[in-house]
Symmetry: C2
Amino acid sequence: MDRMPEDIPHPSLDEIRIERVLHALADPIRLHLVRELARLDTGVACGSIDLPITKSTRTHHLRTLREAGVVTIHPAGTSRITTLRRADLDTLYPGLLDGILNAPH
Amino acid sequence: MDRMPEDIPHPSLDEIRIERVLHALADPIRLHLVRELARLDTGVACGSIDLPITKSTRTHHLRTLREAGVVTIHPAGTSRITTLRRADLDTLYPGLLDGILNAPH
């Protein structure tokens, strides 16, 4: 029987905490990733968003976003697909994400 | 001629940056201060919000909030009045503050 190569944990809706979400979004690199995920409006392979950072730094930022409840990360073949938890965040904190995504600066 | 005992700097609207606002709000103590300021809906003397922290820690958190553009702090006699920059934040990031203040957890 096939098994997933790894089981990546994600916080459930009632485990997500506003302080952790805000901390995750307060970093310029992570905010850029979230803005790109929102713009693309689909799950994307980790490497497909262009960033001047190493792979390990990218992995660290994606883990911070995942653990805060901002994105899901799921294996797909040899890749991992990252998706913004837009509906979940809009349910928990109506207005928050739009307020951030539309920020002029 | 009277002079203000000190001139406390505040970022102007176009100096406020979303990353710094999010960082300022990502701390539980600072988030509590902001929630209380929003609930009271008026400027308050620094010490009037009850918190189990030292005066110097409180001062540190209030400075972080002020420098990010989240509150104003102005001397009034021997006290300092802290006020949430609600209108400014709602202008820059519509929905953001309400999304945070209404957060269930």
